[in-house]
Structure formats: C-alpha cells, structure tokens
Amino acid sequence: MSTENTETMELTETIKEKIDTWVAKFPVGKQRSAIIGSLHAVQEHNQGYLTPELMDAVADYLDLPCIYVYEVATFYSMFQTEPVGYNEIAICTNISCMLSGSDEIVHHVEDRLNIKLGETTKDGKIFLKKEEECLAACTGAPMMMVNHQYIENLNIEKVNEILDKLGQQK
C-alpha cells in the first residue's frame, strides 16, 4: 500500500523484531498506532535521526502509506528528520524554567558551543534542540534533558560540567 517507492530499503532483523512487539500491542489492523514505537527503534539505530528512506521502509513494513509515517515523524519533537549530533540537549524554556533563568542557560550554551538552537556542533557531537515543550519537571526548574535524561536545578557550573563531559566523548 505504500506509495510506490520502487525500491525500499530493508530494515534489519533487530528493528523488525522491535516493530513486531509494538504492532502486537494494538488490535489487528491498527498498526498505524505502532508508528511511534517503530520510529524510535529506527532512529536509535541511525545515530539519532530519520531519513525518508528509513521512514519509507517503516511504512512498507507496517503496510501503511508513507505519508502516515512522515506525519508522525514531523509532528513529534523527539524525532529528527535531518542529520543531528550524537548527543541531544533540550533546554526547557517554558514558563517555570523561563522564570528561573532558562534564557541565561540557553545563551551560555549557545555561546560556549558556538551554535544556535536547532544546530549541531561542528564536530557532530552535540545537537541543541530547537524547542522543547514543558517536560513536567517544574519543581527542578531550570532543567534540561540530555540524551533523554533529566538534569534539574541547573546553573552555569552544572551546565559546564555536562558540556565538558560530552565534549570528551569520542
């Protein structure tokens, strides 16, 4: 049913298995619900981002029109459709964090990494996510998420420490 992309790439067996477990969680014929889970699995194995070919492969495997997968991939901020850095930093800029000084944190990170929000560092190590909605950690504001881990009660020193650590990674 996928829209006639003549040659779709083949997903690996590991990914297929992961997708199968997602499909199994929903009633037969409702595999559209498994798109999010499937995309997570694919993105994880592709250095944190999705390509049209990979999305087509997911659509093909789930027997869905490709556009259904594109819609999901572009809607959720946890999916990247362009190549991004290996580590992902998402600084919350919603109301509580903003009142506790998230703007300052953003500026500091931007200056230190020499990139703007939504960009990746030249060495490809760190991706600064453009926008992050409230992550429901207002008690620990200001906060950010590094590789899906919450880091709360931020200050400049704490941020530097984290950036140092990420910078040392190979």
């Binding site: 049913m1 829209t3 006639e4 049209p52 029109p65 490709c66 556009i67 259904y68 594109y70 819609e71 572009t74 809607f75 959720y76």
Partner: protein, 725 residues
C-alpha cells in the same frame, strides 16, 4: 431515510429532522446557512476549523455544528450574539497568517475564506506579528500550490485517504509550522486528484493550467457532459468569449457524485492544439490545399453520387468515432445507408466480431452508476478500471469500503485502493476460460440451471479452483450482485465468447450486468445504426463489413468521421487501407502529417466541447451537452455540415425532430425486454485465437486527450510513453 424524526428549534423556529445526523447536515437540508471550511458533505468530520460554531442552549461554549449531533428538544441559535462572536473570533485567528493577496489569487471571487472574511471578518487586523510563510510543493502538472494561503482544514488530506484511497498529502509538522505537503518530492498522481482543487476552500490548491489566466467572475458557466468515457460525468465549462478556460464538476448523484476525473477536467486543452484544422482541405493536382466549404462539400457529394450505384462490397468504408453526438451519428448513418453503403462501423477497438448476431440492441448497464455502491458482490472482468472509467472505479471503491466483496479476473495487475477478495490474474489466452470456470462453479449449485448442451461445454473444462468457487459463491449468496466487463474484454480476441459466458453467468447467479464501452456514446452508435449489422433502432439490415474487415481492405472511398488512425486498435492496418484506397475523406478537428499526405478531402469538425448534442452513457441515460453554448463561429456546426452533404448528395432531408425523445422512448421500451441470449454459438467457440497486446492508457483515449498538454505531462502519460519506446 428510516431514522425517526425529532424536533429541534433553530433560530426560534421548530423543525422535524432525522435523528443521527450532525447539526450542519440538518441545517444544510433546511437551507439555513452556517459558515464552514473543513466540513464537506462527502468527507469525514474533522471539526478543526471551528468556523461553524453556533450557540446551543444549555451549553456554556459555542459548539461546532459539524460535530454536534442533533437531539430531541435541542435549541440552536445560528446568528445570536454569542454564535457570531465565536465565528468572528475564529475568522480573526484564521486571518492572522492568511495573506492579503486576494487580488492576485486565482481563488479570489470564488473563495470561501474571502466570502466569510467579508461577513465575519474585522475591518483591520489587530495583529502586527509577521505572517507565517511556507514553501510550496510541486505536485505535478495539474495542481498548483500556494501553501502560505492554507488554513489547514485538511479537506485535501481527507480526500486522499477517503475518496481516492491513496493518501498522498499529509499534515507535516505541528503548531505554527504545520503544512500540507507530500513531505518528499513527489507528484500527486491519482486520477481523481484534481478534485482537491475544488474542495480546497482557499487558494492553496489551484488549477495549474488555468493559473493566472482569468478572473472567475468574468467566466460564463455552461452545463456539459464529458466526452472521454462511457460514464457521462456532468461538468461545467467555464468559458470566456469563445474560449474554454477551465472545467469543474457538476454534481449528479446518479453518475459522478460531486467529482470528475482529471481526464474530464484537463483534456479540453487538446482542442487548442496547434494542429487544429479550421478550413476544409481538398486535394487538387496531387496537393492538399485549402478549399471553400462549397467546394469541399461539392467534391465529396460527387464522389458519393458516383459510387452510389456501384454495388461493390469494397466500394465504401465508413468509420465513425463512438464519441460523436447522437444527431451526428444518426445523420452519418442516414447518409451512408441511404446511398446504399452498408460498411459502417464505430468499433475500431474491437477485433472479435463473431458475436455480432448475438449483440444486444445496445450495450447497457442494468443499473445506474450510483447503484454500484449498493452492490454486495462485484465481479470485474478484463478491465483496468481506474484508467478506463475513473468514476466507475470510484463507485466500486465505495461499495468495497462498505463491505462488498469485490473480485477481479484480469490479464494484468493494477493497483486498487480498496479491499479485493480474489484477484485472478490470468494470461490473455485464459481470460475466457477463467470466467467459464466461475460459471462452472456457479452452475453447480444454481437455482437457474444452464441448458444441458452448455453444461457439456463447461464439463470439458478443468476443475475450478478455490478462488473460482469463492467468487461463484459470493455472487450466488448476494442478491445485490454485479458483473462488470471492461474495455479489455471489448478488445479481446474472444470478446464474443467472454460476453456469452457473462450473459450465462448473469443468468445463473441472478446478477446485474454491465459492459463498459469505448468512447462517450457507443450506445448511441448502436441505436443510430453506426454498426454494419443493424440500422437505426435495432432494425436488421443487409450485413456490411465490420471495422476490422474494412481496415484490412482497400476501398474506392474510405471515410473517417471524428477518427484518427491513432484511435484504432489496428492502426497499421487502417493506415495501409487509407494509403491503398482511391479516395480518403476525413472529418476531424485536427490534421496530422499522415492525413495531410493521404487525405483527399478534409472537413474540420467541432469537438464536443464546441458543439451542442447529446450522449447516451453506459447506463442508457441520455444527456444533453452544451445546450446553452452560443459560440459565434463562421464554420457550420457538424450537424449543418452533414445536412449540407446530404442535400448535396440529392437525398431527401431526414427529420431530426424528436430524435432524442424517440430514442429515449425506445431505450425505455427495450431496456428491460431485450433478454440476453443464453447461448454459446459454435463459431464463437471456434474463434481463431490471435492475441495482441492491449492495454488501456488513461490519457490516450481520443484525439483531444492525446493533445492535452497538462495531461501529457502527468506521470501516467509519461510512463506510457516510456513503455512505448
């Protein structure tokens, strides 16, 4: 409708309405207007534009009329202060990002957003933020995009999913950056996709060939009927001066709902092709030169009169297109028959004529197109349905979506966007046999048993497979069952045999039967006597040569009316016959290099887009086209031209009075009485099998479609071109 009636109050007046429907459906039926963008009667409910908010008593908020079900005692106010406030607020939000480019927007003047901005918008905007802009997709040669104008009603997205069955557009991104897009570089290719232009309430999706050419309020609207297939889709020509600017659908719930195919919408461009013939041509001293109408008519009449008394079987061959209007077909047949010429035919895409004597009075659907939707079991034989008749495919899809069992026996696989129970893919040589196997399976436990000599024929066949049994069972178990034979059957070398099997299967399984035909008016061609074996109104007559026989011989005179050799399935043969014949006369809207070299007389024809007339569709429905058309042109109409030739040939003038009424009466009288022959004649069984590759091309059905620039740039046309290489 059987739903119980309930009472609701709308704007202080009580109404009885059907329960179970949404408020907006009820108000639409009552003629009370509620503004809307995302709601469309043929699409699912999205309730995302919020324009149809109305006040409903006992509800603290205004409610969307499109997603609020009517209930007993409901009190609704559509124009109260709170309703209007809600609508105005919605409008204000929609206009935050919508550009103020109405003066250069093609939708201007027929824009739902523009209309409602007048009635519900503020004089000036309170927003000073920069308006959002979005990139445009290239959706192919038919639809232009200006996504910045999009208000995200998602009608086009729902159209793709629900009507076409092929989701090509989606909502990409979220929040302020949401946009309607294909996401990857991709054209929109479905054969009904042009309808997105009409359902888009703003100027985001527009007609690409028409873009920036005219303002809609300067156009006249003329009712017409599509000349490109046997469905007879109703449409409006939008005309300025004497030029057609664009075509839009005219709703007809029995034929085309509110849609038309892209072919119906964009083919007309072909009539403005550079090789249009506008003056008669006459060969003088070996050179084809321009001539006056009198000269050309005189020359043709002289040839006709000379040949009139020579009773040679190879004397005159008269071919006519099955897409010509009823009155032209009638006059053409009258002209040829009155002069004693019996070789007249329109079936230039048929190769098997052994079943001529078994032909029904006219090929016909037992049901109207919209009744296909109610069928519970459908068997389609030898058809590339979506390409042959996109609208019939649409009705079949509707039936399938409602749970009907749809089955195919076909010689090639094509993609369908609805559930199919069995698809028997058979080689061309096995198409008839596969059908016979379904018949055999049906006969096993049928109420209406077949005569024993036919059973003998079936018994000689192999055992039917599970699929054959499943199809047979499905047809037998459902009262509402339908057999549909496609255009590939028509061009099949065992056409007569296939049709005999279909007649028998229809009898055994008690199913309705329908036969798709080439062109827009094959039914008319049968009824007016444009066939070698019968005169008008089905009267039998001395047998003439059929189309294939005509094309394999040389003649003293060969006449092509509305036909180009390219239309013919055996083009090569026809070309040879034209070259070998003494005199060639072509009536055509166009002139090709081949005809320029070989024709002796050429008469310019007006296309169905430029003349008045009537077509009879596959269901026997007579429909007038262009009745209000009043394009002042110097050239005589096709009818006048034929009458002048008849006069020139010294024949009594035929009466065209009440022709349409007479034919309508005849159809009504014979429609239910012409019993289909339950017979497989010997000669049909023993046809020499001579298979040639036949496939249907969406945009190569007639001379006009072939010349339509937008259609020839579509993926469908381009892929055909690469196939032919």
């Amino acid at each position: 409708m059987s739903e119980p009636k309930i009472t609701i109050t709308i704007d202080d007046q009580e109404y009885k309405v059907n329960s179970g429907q949404m408020l907006i459906e009820a108000t639409d039926q009552l003629g009370i207007h509620i503004p809307r963008f995302c709601y469309h009667e043929k699409l699912s409910i999205a309730a995302n534009c919020r324009m149809c908010l109305v006040e409903v008593e006992n509800s603290t908020n205004a409610l969307p009329a499109c997603a609020t079900e009517v209930s007993e005692g409901m009190v609704v106010k559509t124009t109260s202060e709170s309703a209007e406030l809600a609508q105005q607020a919605t409008m204000e939000f929609l206009l935050i990002n919508h550009p103020l480019d109405c003066p250069i927007c093609d939708q201007g003047g027929e824009c739902e957003l523009q209309d409602l901005a007048y009635s519900h918008g503020r004089n000036e905007s309170r927003f000073e933020v920069k308006k959002r802009t979005l990139p445009d997709d290239n959706l192919g040669p038919l639809i232009s995009t200006d996504m910045t104008r999009c208000i995200l009603c998602t009608r086009c997205v729902r159209f793709g999913t629900e009507i076409a069955g092929l989701p090509e557009l989606g909502t990409i991104g979220r929040g302020e950056s949401s946009t309607i897009s294909t996401f990857v570089e991709k054209t929109v290719d479905h054969e009904l996709s042009g309808n997105m232009i009409d359902i888009c309430p703003v100027g985001a999706l527009n007609n690409k060939p028409y873009r920036y050419t005219d303002r809609t309020w300067e156009l006249d609207q003329i009712e017409s009927v599509s000349p490109h297939d046997c469905v007879g889709s109703n449409m409006f020509l939008h005309v300025k001066g004497d030029k057609i600017k664009r075509i839009v659908p005219k709703a007809n719930p029995e034929i085309n709902e509110v849609w038309i195919s892209d072919r119906d919408r964009f083919a007309f461009d072909g009539i403005y092709s550079d090789d249009r013939l506008t003056v008669p041509m006459l060969r003088k001293n070996g050179v084809l030169e321009e001539a006056t109408w009198e000269e050309a008519i005189d020359a043709f009449s002289k040839v006709l009169i000379t040949l009139q008394n020579k009773k040679s079987k190879n004397g005159v061959a008269a071919l006519i297109s099955s897409s010509t209007a009823l009155n032209e077909q009638y006059l053409y047949a009258y002209l040829m028959r009155s002069l004693g010429f019996n070789n007249i035919d329109h079936r230039i895409r048929q190769i098997d004529f052994t079943g001529d004597s078994l032909d029904p009075i006219f090929p016909n659907f037992d049901i109207k197109p919209h009744q296909i939707e109610n069928m519970k079991s459908i068997l389609i034989i030898g058809s590339d349905l979506r390409k042959e008749t996109p609208l019939i495919a649409h009705w079949v899809k509707k039936a399938a979506d409602q749970g009907a069992s749809v089955n195919f026996i076909n010689q090639e696989y094509s993609e369908y966007y609805f559930p199919i129970d069995n698809f028997i893919l058979s080689g061309q040589e096995a198409l008839a046999e596969n059908l016979a196997l379904v018949l055999k399976a049906s006969n096993d436990d049928a109420v209406n048993k077949l005569p024993s000599h036919i059973e003998d024929v079936l018994n000689a066949l192999p055992t039917p497979s599970l699929s054959h049994y499943q199809i047979a069972k499905s047809l037998a178990n459902h009262e509402q069952s339908f057999l549909l034979s496609g255009l590939l059957c028509h061009s099949h070398s065992e056409y007569a045999l296939i049709r005999s099997y279909l007649n028998l299967l229809s009898y055994v399984s008690n199913s309705s039967f329908g036969e798709l035909t080439h062109g827009a008016n094959a039914t008319g061609a049968y009824l007016t006597g444009c066939i070698p074996h019968r005169k008008a109104f089905g009267e039998s007559h001395e047998l003439g040569l059929n189309a294939l026989e005509m094309c394999t011989k040389n003649h003293q005179l060969i006449v092509l009316y509305g036909i180009e050799p390219e239309d013919c399935l055996y083009q090569e043969k026809l070309n040879q016959s034209i070259v070998g014949s003494q005199t060639t006369v072509q009536f055509s809207p166009f002139i090709t290099p081949f005809m320029k070299e070989n024709a002796d007389i050429m008469f310019p024809l007006k296309t169905p887009y430029e003349s008045k007339g009537a077509f009879i569709n596959a269901s026997g429905m007579i429909q007038d086209f262009n009745l209000q058309l009043d394009l002042a042109k110097d050239n005589p109409s096709n009818q006048e031209l034929l009458l002048q030739i008849i006069e020139g040939s010294k024949l009594p003038m035929p009466s065209l009075d009440n022709l349409k009424e007479k034919i309508k009466k005849f159809i009504d009288e014979t429609k239910n009485t012409h019993n289909r022959l339950l017979e497989i004649p010997e000669k049909v069984l023993k046809t020499t099998k001579n298979y040639s590759s036949v496939s249907s091309h969406l945009y190569d059905v007639d001379s006009i479609t072939r010349r339509s620039r937008p259609l020839q740039q579509t993926k469908d046309a381009l892929s055909q071109f690469s196939e032919d290489q």
